[in-house]
């Protein structure tokens, strides 16, 4: 069998209609949907290799049980696009919708989840509160009734939630861009953006200058740096988020389990590894080094939920960078200050699950010049106008 290449390597052209900075899920998805909408003279510029950043470091959870109506509508679109992604891109991205459980261990937790369940149901998203007997039925290995410092009182059960093969999503989108006529340039680093009379004119890279009228900043960790190239300050603070994976075990855990009281979440991949993570680190940093205290905390809390995993071994830990906005919601859209400069940034800890929706809507915005209604609440101007989208409570640990 002759191998079919996923993507070609191209010479950097000196002009593209749209230049997208960042070869992660957001940049590639936007590029893919642009090619589907007939905008084909486009380039995705990636400083390292596709999926180097958050797209390759996240824990691949997909869900739509958010808190605000804006968030729910947006992530619901994303889940639906993910459901048909394998067929669209002809690549098995292994979206396994085995359900997502957010546990509450105290009254306040139960109240918060009840509110989300009520709002989710109002918006037509499959999500409900369940209690210990049912939790135990769905996750037989979970320590629901055994000794525990903070016994589980209830859970928000979200059946369409699950995990996906994150790298596969990135590769499939990259191939989709390539097949659609777009260029994916790896090892291509943006060093400057030229603006004249408030209009983007060119992007300068380590491989040369590209003339373009439209630039999309689809980066993470460096979103502020890219925006500053056009003189724009955006309210983002970068925090590391850590995760770890265990050795493969015979699968016993189908659902994604999240506990914000215990600051831990865990799922088991189809290869049998347990993937676990916590909240973002307290302090802002660009460090991609993991810490021992993360491992200790995550292990302690995981063992509260699954005590019989004490002799299961951690294989590796890693960290990714999360661009946090003040309201824990992303920034999508353009800015009146610089024409032709658009953003899909500030994706915090919830970016991967949004990839297709943000890509689709950003492509629509770029192709049509009009902001789709689902995108409207997430514009940069909300910070000037104090119209925040309060996802802080829902996003804290459940990413």
């Amino acid at each position: 069998m002759v191998a079919q290449r996923m993507w070609q390597e191209h010479e950097l052209k000196d002009q593209y209609d749209v230049v997208i900075i960042g070869g992660g899920v957001h940049g590639l998805a936007t590029a893919y949907y642009l090619t589907q909408m007939g905008v084909r003279n486009i380039a995705v510029l990636e400083a390292k290799y596709v999926g180097f950043g958050g797209s390759g470091r996240n824990t691949a959870i997909v869900r739509s049980n958010y808190r605000t109506p804006e968030g729910i509508a947006f992530y619901d679109l994303s889940v639906k696009l993910y459901e048909q992604l394998a067929a669209d891109l002809e690549f098995n991205v292994m979206f396994s919708q085995h359900g997502h459980l957010t546990l509450a261990h105290n009254e306040r937790g139960v109240t918060g989840l009840t509110e989300r369940a009520n709002t989710n149901q109002l918006m037509g998203v499959n999500s409900r509160i369940i209690f210990p007997e049912e939790i135990q039925r769905i996750v037989p290995d979970l320590n629901v009734f055994g000794h525990s410092r903070f016994p589980i009182q209830a859970a928000l059960y979200h059946p369409p939630g699950g995990i996906i093969r994150h790298d596969a999503v990135v590769w499939a989108f990259a191939r989709g861009v390539d097949r659609g006529g777009g260029h994916v340039h790896q090892k291509t680093e943006v060093t400057g953006i030229e603006v004249q009379n408030g209009q983007v004119e060119a992007v300068v890279t380590n491989r040369g200058r590209i003339k373009t009228k439209t630039v999309l900043n689809a980066t993470a960790g460096y979103a502020g740096l890219i925006s500053r190239m056009v003189g724009l300050e955006i309210p983002i603070e970068t925090h590391p988020l850590q995760a770890a994976v265990t050795e493969p075990l015979k699968p016993f855990l189908n659902s994604v389990i999240v506990s914000s009281t215990l600051h831990v979440y865990v799922s088991q991949t189809d290869r049998g590894e347990l993937v676990l993570g916590a909240e973002v680190d307290d302090h802002a940093s660009y460090s991609l080094r993991g810490t021992l205290s993360f491992l200790e905390g995550a292990a302690t809390h995981l063992l509260e939920l699954f005590p019989h995993l004490a002799n299961v071994k951690i294989l590796r830990q890693w960290a990714g960078l999360c661009d946090m906005t003040p309201d824990y919601s992303p920034i999508m859209g353009g800015t009146p200050d610089v024409k032709g400069f658009l953003m899909t940034v500030g994706w915090g800890t919830y970016g991967f699950k949004a990839g297709p929706a943000s890509g689709y809507l950003m492509a629509e915005l770029i192709a049509s010049g009009k902001t789709p209604p689902k995108l409207e609440p997430f514009g940069l101007t909300r910070f000037y106008e104090d119209r925040l989208v309060g996802e802080k409570a829902a996003a804290s640990v459940s990413h």
Binding site: M1, A3, M6, W7, Y49, V50, G51, F52, P69, A86, F91, N92, V93, M94, F95, S96, Q97, N106, T111, G112, E115, N118, T119, D141, R149, F150, D167, A172, P248, L249, K250, P251, D270, G272, S287, R289, G290, L295, E296, A299, T300, L302, L303, P307, H308, A310, N311, V312, K313, I314, L315, R316, Q317, W318, D327, Y328, D386, L388, G390, K392
Partner: protein, 937 residues
């Protein structure tokens, strides 16, 4: 281990195996002729012992219920139950080996290309995949057992590795006058000299000097799994985790052998030379039958001689080099040759060899294929700590080009395979580390060491790049044994476009298994480089991440698993004796209810009640600039807070979001006593410290006195009479009016009394030194007996405060609530100088309220769940944050967030309850004592 010759028995897959005492499980199985130990991950091919050093995945078994244990480093113990994994029905006859035959249908990444059409097929396939995936099985019955603990240590110099370089480094540093901690993963010092004794003259004297040195602490059988920021080492020693902080770190971790890549190189009977040596010298095993040694260095010749001495017939040495300097001692030698393939189905029965060009080929029958084709340095701790390494062609390994600060490396990890070089390199590193700590100690300059790198004898003269990959197109040349990735898989993946080493890893899964690349890293990089037409240096390496070796969750968690923190107030035992129902509030245990909510409610409203509020955060601030600090932290005013007065305050963040509330009492000109809510006590402590750190010029001294004071709230119309019996202080409303703060003596104890009333009655919040908390608590209850005083819990308190519309931060507010909208507009003084959140609150005030926290009375006698929704035309309008039955109103009341246009007094809102909506009326005034007359009485 040779001292004790008693033999023991253990169980392997249901039958008994005898082991010499001290022998490893793997050694015992080898001696017993058990050569199929495991089945491979994907193709279920039989696998046998390979490295004998805990690096490769081949000997992974379940031991006494613990999955994925490497039995080659596990000492055999009597009665041990060892089971093979990932095979059905048994490791000897595994029906799933069918996948090996089907392997052309399962090329690299095949699962990305299939099983997704039509959409419903994937869940079906996934079920099957999840049935066969994974290695060990978790132990539901006994997995939680085991005693774990943690230890914290510090040292001047940490030396990692007890081989020749490490021993010399430790000794040199310790002799220079610093303390040294030597961490070694083997049970005895000596590194690879333990199993390669002929390499150098005996080092027992060196080991003795290290062991007896007063400044050296040796931690044996312990692996350093991580080198974290600031030379913070994570060490696993059995079920103990040691956290070691070292001023200087010397990495002398040596290297491990890499396998040769040829067809069927994974068959049982194909072993690494060092694995063979470990079995020969440490486990006293033999290798019956014929062996072939393939090599490019002197070690191959040594192992051939050692095998011969142990009775094995070594039929050939296959030397990759054309002109080796070693002599074969009568063994037939093929120069410039390599192994093309191994034959056999369940065990090696022969080898096909050929010149490096690939032809002509010839077969040699043999039972063992021993590989000595070079090393991969154990450098992951160097990478972890930020050292820069680059592939060095002359060493054929990555070499450090720049060390991280306070980090050194020595010995074979630096490519110094000659023992004399390694020893002097160790001395050099030891002295360098010591000198970094105490400059006058000893001169480091030692020219003979400096030049060791340049003069050392290279292992293989002009060996061609990646000669350890044999020249053939065979399909089953395994590179990654953990994940069953072949050379062809890697080349195919690169052809598909996954040419970056990181992308290649993620797509082909090479190096992602339990060994984390220890066996496959060299070869996968070499193949990737060759196929991309790049150099090995250009290809780079995948990032090294902790832990260096797989690490049990129990070791990381330590004892906390069995010792969860519980905080109890000084009155805890009293509450329990009184039959209170206790509940969790963070780590605290708090009384929820003693008798019943209506009874306790009535006591407070009619007579007197007492609640334990010891869990409040308590902070004392002293200094000339405290007022300035308070003015900056709080949106309301404190400059005018008089001595002996207390004021309510909220804390906001920069965005004007309400974080917490509490009281601020002025007990002296420069002395203030603050309370925070129970849940935010720690957060506010850090918040204060954060801002104080930003203003070092301020004279503010902060003491967290949360645990020093017990606190209780005496409330109710008779509470003054109760308290009067216990104090000489003047409690009259003239002397101690509402919002007075004073220090006085109650029941013989000096206390702080705040006249505040969260529950809306005449009340006193009394802060008592913790050790007298119970005494004062009991004294008040005794004094109140004649007034029928009753203790009350959190549940009654919630109703009482709800009737007063007092909000609870975090319950009635969320991450978007500012005090303007949370019904506290009076608290925000925008005419003040700068304070945290001022700008945001000014903007919020300018744009007007969007949502408001309001009180409501429900029209029906039901109590909705908390977080029930407020609907406007069927859409989300807001939500309930608190609600309950109010005896004062005789109906359900609550607090809710609603759109500002619905927030006017008397307006009707719709609340969703069990699928229908119930109207409720907005009420501005508190539901109880709206004028506050009772509070101020």
């Amino acid at each position: 281990m040779a001292e004790d010759h008693g033999s023991i028995e253990f169980e392997f897959d249901g039958h008994r195996v005898r082991a010499e005492s001290g022998q490893t499980v793997a050694g015992a199985l080898h001696a017993a002729g058990e050569h199929i130990i495991s089945r491979s991950f994907k193709y279920h091919r039989p696998r046998g012992l390979l490295c004998m050093s805990g690096r490769c995945p081949n000997c992974i078994c379940t031991v006494d219920g613990t999955p994925n244990v490497r039995i080659c480093t596990q000492a055999a113990k009597p009665g041990m139950v060892v089971k093979s994994q990932n095979a059905w029905p048994s490791v000897k006859f595994d029906l799933l080996r069918i996948f090996d035959k089907l392997h052309r249908f399962m090329p690299v990444g095949f699962y990305y290309k299939r099983m997704y059409k039509p959409r419903w097929m994937w869940p079906v396939w996934e079920k099957i995949i999840r049935r066969i995936a994974g290695l060990g099985t978790i132990n539901r019955e006994h997995g939680a057992e085991g005693v774990y603990d943690k230890q914290n240590l510090f040292t001047d110099v940490a030396v990692i590795g007890g081989g020749l370089a490490g021993l010399n480094a430790a000794l040199a540093a310790a002799d220079a006058g610093v303390t040294v901690t030597l961490i070694d993963e083997q049970p005895a010092l000596g590194g690879h000299l333990r199993h390669d004794p002929e390499l150098v003259e005996p080092i027992s004297d060196l080991i003795r000097r290290v062991s007896e040195h007063p400044a050296i602490t040796v931690i044996s059988s312990a692996g350093v799994f991580g080198c974290y920021e600031g030379n913070y080492l994570g060490i696993q020693q059995g079920q103990r985790m040691i956290r070691l902080r070292a001023a200087q770190v010397i990495v002398a971790t040596g290297c491990w052998e890499r396998p040769l890549i040829f067809e069927n190189n994974d068959l049982p009977g194909v072993m690494l030379a060092s694995g063979v040596q470990r079995l020969l010298h440490l486990d006293h095993c033999q290798f019956p039958g014929e062996a072939v040694v393939v090599t490019d260095n002197a070690q191959g010749y040594r192992v051939a001689k050692q095998l011969k001495a142990a009775g094995t017939r070594v039929s050939a040495i296959i030397d990759v080099r054309d002109n080796p300097s070693e002599t074969a001692d009568g063994i037939r030698t093929f120069r410039g040759h390599t192994i093309i393939s191994a034959s056999g189905s369940r065990h090696v029965n022969g080898a096909v060899i050929a010149p490096l060009a690939g032809h002509p080929r010839q077969s040699i029958s043999c039972r063992w294929i021993v590989q000595a084709v070079g090393f991969t340095p154990a450098n992951s701790l160097l990478y972890q700590n930020g050292c820069k390494l680059r592939y060095d062609e002359s060493l054929d390994q990555a070499a450090v080009i720049q060390h991280a600060p306070a980090m050194h490396s020595a010995g074979t990890v630096n490519g110094l395979h000659d023992p004399r070089d390694a020893a002097s390199d160790g001395q050099r590193a030891g002295l360098a580390a010591a000198e970094a700590l105490c400059s006058p100690c000893l001169s480091v300059s030692n020219p003979s060491v400096e030049t060791a790198l340049e003069t050392q004898s290279h292992r293989g003269e002009t060996a061609p790049m990646c000669h350890y990959v044999s020249p053939s197109d065979a399909k089953k040349k395994f590179v990654c044994l953990c994940e069953d990735v072949t050379e062809k898989d890697i080349c195919d993946a690169i052809d598909e476009g996954y040419s970056n080493i990181e992308t290649l890893k993620r797509y082909s899964t090479v190096s992602m298994g339990p060994c984390q690349g220890k066996m496959c890293q060299s070869a996968s990089i070499a193949i990737c480089a060759r196929h991309n037409g790049q150099s090995i240096a250009e290809t780079g390496v995948t990032t090294a991440r902790p832990p260096e070796q797989p690490l049990p969750l129990g070791v990381l968690a330590g004892r906390t698993l069995h010792f969860s923190l519980i905080r109890r107030t000084p009155m805890h035992a009293w509450h329990e004796q009184a039959g209170a129902k206790m509940g969790d509030a963070g780590n605290w245990k708090r009384p929820q209810v003693y008798s019943s909510v209506p009874q306790e409610y009535e006591a407070v409203r009619q007579r007197a009640g007492l609640i334990d509020v010891s869990t409040l955060g308590k902070i004392e601030l002293r200094g000339a600039d405290v007022v300035q600090f308070l003015e900056f932290i709080y949106p309301n005013r404190f400059a005018n807070l008089k001595l002996g007065r207390v004021r309510y305050g909220v804390i906001c963040d920069d965005a004007g979001i309400l974080l917490d509330d509490g009281t601020i009492a002025r007990l002296g000109d420069d002395r203030f006593f603050l309370t925070t809510t129970t849940g935010n006590a720690d957060a506010i402590d850090s918040w204060f410290r954060w801002w104080l750190a930003a203003r070092p010029e301020w004279d503010v001294r902060m003491t967290n006195v949360s645990a020093s004071y017990a606190a209780m709230n005496l409330a109710g119309p008779r509470s003054r009479e109760v308290l009067k019996k216990l104090t000489d202080a003047d409690l009259s409303s003239d002397a101690m009016p509402y919002l007075a703060a004073s220090e006085c003596t109650i029941a013989g104890v000096s206390v702080i009394v705040l006249r505040i009333g969260f529950v809306g009655e005449l009340g006193y919040e009394i802060h008592v030194p913790s050790q007298f908390g119970l005494h004062v608590w009991e004294a008040i209850l005794e004094a109140g007996r004649e007034f029928s005083i009753a203790p009350f819990g959190l549940e009654a308190q919630r109703v009482l405060r709800l009737e007063k519309k007092h909000l609870l931060p975090g319950i009635d507010t969320d991450a978007l609530s500012n005090p303007l909208e949370a019904d506290l507009p009076w608290i925000v003084k925008l005419d003040k100088a700068d304070f945290i959140g001022k700008e945001s609150l000014a903007r919020a005030q300018q744009r007007g309220d969007r949502n408001k926290l309001i009180g409501f009375r429900l029209s029906e006698p039901v109590v909705p769940d908390l977080a029930s929704l407020v609907l406007c035309d069927g859409k989300l309008g807001g939500r309930i944050t608190s609600c309950g039955y109010s005896p004062a109103v005789g109906g359900t009341i609550g607090l809710a967030w609603v759109p500002a246009n619905l927030a006017g007094n008397g307006q009707t809102i719709q609340i969703q309850v069990n699928g229908r909506t119930i109207p409720a009326v907005v009420q501005d005034e508190p539901f109880y004592d709206p004028s506050g007359a009772k509070l101020k009485s």
